[in-house]
Symmetry: C2
Subunit: 143 residues, 2 copies
């Protein structure tokens, strides 16, 4: 199977929400949230809001996104386009370009109101589909 050709319906994802952020373009997106990404919100769709039960301000969560503007036909990248860094396989890189453009973002919950989860700095542009939210369960397991 050629990379980037996609799969059968068997592995079909359903967005459960969307990122609402002042960050409007990939070009403006920092590489890591430590580099000044803005706070944002996860708008969870009505059909999935029951899944937020018991989430509260202060929780550390992992947001899994669909990096909808990334390329899927790439297997090697130059990290952060830095000429000083060697070409690297995508599986040893956090580049958004990869066969399955899944993004992982660890953030803190600031406030939850009616399916809107306000979170700390997150390096995802406005409109990015959200696929899952998981709690960080321990420092050792905070994958």
């Amino acid at each position: 199977m050629k990379p980037g050709t996609g799969a059968a319906g068997k592995y079909a994802l359903t967005p459960i929400g969307v990122i609402r952020s002042p960050l409007k373009s990939v070009r403006a997106a920092p590489n890591f949230y430590t580099e000044g990404a803005p706070r944002a919100a996860i708008e969870v769709y009505a059909a999935y809001r029951r899944g937020l039960s018991r989430m509260k301000a202060g929780d550390e969560i992992i947001v899994i996104t669909w990096l909808h503007r990334a390329r899927r036909d790439v297997l090697k990248v130059r990290p952060e386009d830095d000429p000083a860094r060697p070409i690297t396989g995508v599986f040893s890189s956090r580049s958004p370009s990869r066969p399955n453009p899944l993004g992982l973002h660890r953030v803190k919950v600031l406030e939850i109101e009616e399916g809107r989860v306000r979170v700390g700095p997150i390096e995802a542009v406005d409109g990015t589909p959200v696929l899952d939210i998981k709690p960080v369960v321990s420092e050792a397991d905070d994958s």
Copy 2:
């Protein structure tokens, strides 16, 4: 949209490999890798092996799996089936049952040979599809 109905082809995933483990059933799977999960291997399919370039023994990685035996129509669960714990939304739980059955596993690379990545203890059963592998980039960002 009803939970669990799946999405259009737009969000279709392509497995890049598969878990090879002595763990053969969900019933036998521990809840967390700290509870005695066995070492396993990620068999990366030939078409994606270039993506492993520069990965090496000792690397800490995050493996994203498709929890193919999980239910997708569940929004609340009782964590670990423990009657002492309250019913919780799936987004505040690490239950495999959730709208998009994505699993996150932080493991250490033990050895890489011909597209076979041997890793430390991982709570995923034999045959679990692998969707992505990412490096842990820092303790603060090891989402």
